[in-house]
């Protein structure tokens, strides 16, 4: 059997929880063979392949994934603080480069201090570095330098999540609740 080009890289990266981005060569191979890979991941690992124009990733059925929650809190607080600072946070995510120092300042002066201090991945500069490195490993951010990064288009997963939540709350729909951490 002949496998699509970059098959091994596609499988390895997606299976390690990475987002594949549309500026990467193997993304095109994945896109061209979307139906093959959708079936491949479903039959082999019971995982769902999500294809978006800008990125692609795999979904696990397990919703108790702490990494997703930590990243959601991180992006939510950062969006709130950027807005409070008078910046358009979507434009900032799309075009700006952030420094670790800038992020630390936003988190140090945030009014969500109780939440930040109670979360072990956000509570101090070191913990935030670890979270950001984890985000870089998964292609949610791209480290332009040791202490600088830009967001990749993968951040839109969390933006879509916020939109959906807002619509549910506006409509007064009860959402499924998680068990407490």
């Amino acid at each position: 059997m002949v496998y699509p080009a970059h098959h091994r890289q596609i499988v390895e990266e997606l299976m390690s929880g990475k987002f594949l981005l549309n500026n990467e060569e193997h993304f095109n191979s994945l896109k061209e063979n979307e139906s093959f890979y959708t079936e491949f991941f479903k039959v082999s690992f019971d995982l769902e392949l999500i294809m978006k124009p800008e990125f692609s990733y795999l979904l696990s059925k397990d919703t108790q994934e702490n990494f997703s929650r930590d990243v959601s809190i991180f992006i939510a607080i950062l969006s709130y603080e950027l807005d409070r600072d008078g910046r358009n946070f979507i434009e900032s995510f799309d075009f700006n480069e952030f420094t670790f120092e800038e992020i630390d300042n936003y988190f140090l002066n945030s009014s969500f201090v109780d939440l930040i201090e109670s979360n072990k991945t956000l509570r101090d500069n070191e913990s935030r570095r670890t979270l950001l490195n984890g985000m870089a490993r998964r292609n949610i951010i791209y480290k332009t330098f040791e202490d600088r990064f830009t967001f990749t288009q993968a951040y839109k997963v969390f933006i879509d999540f916020a939109k959906e939540l807002a619509l549910k709350r506006i409509k007064g729909e009860p959402e499924t609740q998680n068990t407490e951490k």
Binding site: M15, E65, A162, R169, N178
Partner: protein
């Protein structure tokens, strides 16, 4: 006085938390609990509920109605994090109390020591209450203003501005005046003054116990001033520019604000969970097989014989024991060992000789020492050993 044990009351609160919460919510909403509401809440728990609520002093009668006692009300506020915003006038009263106590402390510096210490403790208590109220108010104001920004009810911009102006005029700006350290009339500036005074007195006051009270007050005020500065920063950064902030609205930000209310109770975007193989995982068998299979491909192993002459002698204890038994009785044990070895080897090394002499410790042997202290010489390849002459016989079994 309450007859019940403190633990009994806490157990009651734990078991009937829903009842107490219902009472709290009605009290918070209407300012009191009407008789009808009280009857309705207590009805499903039997007649004992009413008497217990009174016995544990959770409620008290106001005419025919009821109200929750302050200590329980504050406890519920704290547990549920549902603080009602207080008008800053209510908070400002602490300025009067703190100033009055401070003035009396300064005046009574050289009078009765006990009353001075009591006043310092009271001042500390007032400061504690003041900070607590400021924090609760700031928390509530933040929640209210985030609601405005989130605008989940989708109210019109005009109405939002009206609400924001209300919060700013009656709550935020007055609270900011209380916390503004640069304003000479603010409570914070008064606390800074008290802190400086306490700092001097903790070092130079003549009486040691009073110095210790000043020390405690000083430490408390240092922390208090830091906490108030934090609250003041929140007011300046987040609450005062409220009108400006509500001008923009974003569905995404609404979602994030709603999420941040309680991020642990909302399902976040599902991502692929990192894999970690457990011994009970389905694919463990294959992973273990893969691991061991890597050792199945055996590369040829070539063993080269060392050319060096390597004589490795292992002492056969049983053989030598048999030989010794056959030669019993032996008049000179060490001599016998040497001779026994000599039958096999031309050269006797010291370690070989010592290995054979180990037979001496056999419990089945009886050892007799020469009365004349006779000694014999044994010559090994490396040593000349001077050893006693020992007679060996089989031990007499009892």
């Amino acid at each position: 006085m309450i007859k019940a044990e403190p633990r009994t009351i806490l157990n009651f609160l734990n078991t009937y938390f829903d009842v107490v919460r219902d009472l709290f919510e009605y009290q918070q909403q209407d300012g009191l609990i009407t008789k009808e509401v009280f009857d309705m809440i207590c009805h499903k728990h039997g007649a004992q509920m009413k008497s217990r609520l009174r016995e544990y002093r959770v409620v008290r009668s106001i005419g025919s109605d009821f109200e929750m006692r302050d200590v329980y009300f504050k406890l519920m506020e704290f547990l549920l994090f549902e603080f009602k915003p207080l008008l800053p006038e209510t908070i400002e009263k602490y300025k009067g109390a703190i100033s009055e106590l401070f003035m009396k402390i300064r005046k009574s510096e050289h009078s009765d020591r006990d009353i001075l210490q009591e006043r310092i403790k009271n001042l500390s208590g007032q400061v504690r209450e003041f900070v607590d109220l400021v924090e609760r108010n700031a928390f509530r104001l933040l929640a209210e203003t985030r609601d405005l920004k989130s605008n989940i009810d989708r109210v019109q911009y005009r109405e939002k501005v009206h609400k924001a102006s209300f919060w700013i005029e009656y709550y935020i700006l007055p609270l900011n005046r209380i916390l503004d350290v640069n304003h000479s009339e603010s409570v914070t500036s008064k606390l800074v003054e008290v802190c400086e005074y306490a700092n001097r007195k903790r070092l130079d006051y003549s009486d040691e116990t009073t110095r210790s009270e000043y020390e405690k007050l000083y430490t408390q005020l240092i922390q208090t001033n830091q906490d108030l500065l934090k609250q003041s920063k929140i007011l300046t950064n987040e609450l005062i520019p409220l009108l400006e902030r509500i001008r923009t609205e974003s569905l995404i930000l609404t979602g994030f604000i709603e999420f941040l209310r309680n991020p642990y109770k909302v399902e976040t975007p599902p991502l692929l969970k990192g894999t970690r193989t457990m011994v009970y995982a389905k694919d463990m068998y294959f992973k273990v097989r893969e691991f061991f299979e890597q050792f199945q491909i055996e590369a040829p192993v070539i063993v080269e014989n060392s050319e060096a002459d390597f004589d490795r002698w292992i002492f056969d204890r049983t053989l030598f024991k048999e030989k010794l038994a056959a030669s019993m009785p032996v008049n000179d044990f060490f001599g016998w060992c040497f001779k026994a070895l000599k039958k096999d080897f031309d050269q006797i090394e010291t370690d070989k000789f010592f290995a054979v002499t180990g037979l001496l410790f056999d419990e089945e042997l009886q050892i007799d020492y020469s009365k004349k202290s006779e000694r014999v010489s044994i010559e090994t390849t490396t040593s000349l050993l001077n050893v006693p002459k020992l007679k060996i016989e089989p031990a007499i079994k009892l």
